[in-house]
Symmetry: C2
Subunit: 154 residues, 2 copies
Amino acid sequence: MTLFPIFLLTCGVAGAAGVLFKPGQWYRDLDKPVWTPPNWLFPLVWAVLYVLMALAATRVAALPGTQLALALWGLQITINTLWSGVFFGLHRLLTGAVIIAMLWLAVLATTLAFWTHDTVAALMMVPYLVWGTYALALNISVWLRNRHRTVAAH
Amino acid sequence: MTLFPIFLLTCGVAGAAGVLFKPGQWYRDLDKPVWTPPNWLFPLVWAVLYVLMALAATRVAALPGTQLALALWGLQITINTLWSGVFFGLHRLLTGAVIIAMLWLAVLATTLAFWTHDTVAALMMVPYLVWGTYALALNISVWLRNRHRTVAAH
């Protein structure tokens, strides 16, 4: 039995957090760097990354002795789910940056664990790692540019 | 190698959602049934449930062929992480009830999958299932008692 539907559903839960916690007027008003992507790009990128990470987990889950790799995959998707609410819901820019840093480490650990079982699965995680690096830089930049304003707003 | 630290850290991410999204004045003002537990009980219960579910996953992960069981465990902890923000952050009572219903189904599926590998691990999930049933009833009751007020408040 393929586990793809379960992994994709799990990614859907993380994606639901992104849909429920929307960037609104607050996000529009933030001081953002020129290399901030347009809003429409985020759901497209995440849809691709979610399908890729679900496919990668499916490949790994079909192999014996992959419990550690799957435990790490579960950790990263849980951190992924937490971020949207903290950033867009609570407007906590620094906490958001810390969560993305944790996410980046968890995705790196997952990718390395996948690499020991299946090269293709590890390669499928690389775009996620690249986007995570970019998202971390963006979140830190937005925090640095708005931290005084954010503190004042609380 | 025991996977307990990874599973407990994953539960910690779900617990962080509960800490970050606090019940505030909004929750105090909700019309709640008499069988609503006091606020201080929730973190205690969740601490016990998180340790139990991390121990259960650790036992199962040590056995061969438990990829499906671990995939389901990952699904349930992701849904668990989503709930706090939707209920306490967005104040969406009906969406919260739907998410707990999904969580309940995912916990049941995880418990049944654990049962096929390790009876003790399955029994360690039973308190979670019982509390989930209670939490679902509470969330539905709070939604029914406050839905007109909630709609008016939007």
